[in-house]
């Protein structure tokens, strides 16, 4: 089971802050996960695919859509951060 987290405006886009999902075993990268999540939600797939969105895999920033999920327990989708 993979925990998927949505932050900021992506939480609004997803309609929830998190979900527990069991992606099929052939979902191996961030890009594939987005396509799988957004199979029936093209608006959400589009929002998650924006270049400004950063993805953290088990709390490590992923390099890009080809980053391997490698059995991650937690995947976070983060729009541009704004601290301070």
């Amino acid at each position: 089971m993979t925990r998927i987290l949505y932050f900021g405006k992506l939480r609004d886009a997803a309609g929830r802050a998190s979900q527990d999902a069991a992606p099929p075993s052939d979902i191996a990268t961030v890009g594939q996960l987005i396509a799988w999540i957004g199979a029936d939600r093209p608006d959400l797939a589009d929002a998650l695919s924006q270049p400004s969105v950063r993805v953290a895999i088990d709390q490590e920033i992923a390099a890009g859509p080809d980053a391997p999920l490698a059995g991650a327990g937690e995947i976070a989708f983060m729009p541009p951060m704004s601290g301070g």
Binding site: L5, F7, G8, K9, R11, D12, A56, Q59, A76, M78, P79, P80, M81, S82, G83, G84
Partner: protein, 151 residues
């Protein structure tokens, strides 16, 4: 030291605690960021900050580490709030202590630029004109880039 909290930030107490009882500190620069009742012309009644527990602390700790590497610092304090807050409340307090003032000034400046673009917080403003998510301004990205160019 890093603190991420939903409780209000008591800026004066934080500053006193940071600098009191030490005789090796010559300079402290303490930045506080506050909620304004207007933002880009829009009225603000509430600011709500979303964060990512664990990861937010980790990323802020990275900012502290980089500041300590770049500048000659005696101590660092970053206190960041999350949750709902009203105009006038303190969102963030970021302090740097050094022997001489230039290191403290540059470190506080650097840390705030880094927090603005690299700290996992997401801000939603609410007011008479509705709600909106806030993203870093072009100026924030330009400020952050200053430190990539140097050193």
């Amino acid at each position: 030291m890093i603190r991420v909290q939903s409780d209000p930030i008591d800026a004066g107490a934080m500053l006193d605690g940071f600098q009191s009882g030490r005789t090796d500190i010559g300079a402290v620069v303490c930045f506080t960021g506050l909620v304004r009742d207007a933002s880009g012309g829009a009225h603000v009644s509430t600011l709500e900050l979303d964060h990512y527990p664990g990861f937010t602390e980790k990323m802020i700790a990275g900012v502290e580490d980089e500041a300590r590497k770049r500048f000659d610092l005696i101590d660092v304090l970053i206190v960041h709030r999350y949750g709902r807050m009203a105009p006038g409340e303190t969102i963030v307090l970021c302090a740097a202590a050094s022997a001489h003032r230039r290191d403290a000034f540059q470190a506080a400046d650097f840390m705030m630029d880094a927090l603005k673009t690299d700290a996992p917080f997401w801000k939603k403003e609410s007011g008479a004109d509705g709600e909106r998510w806030i993203e870093p301004r072009d100026q924030d990205h330009a400020d952050r880039a200053r430190w990539r160019a140097s050193r």
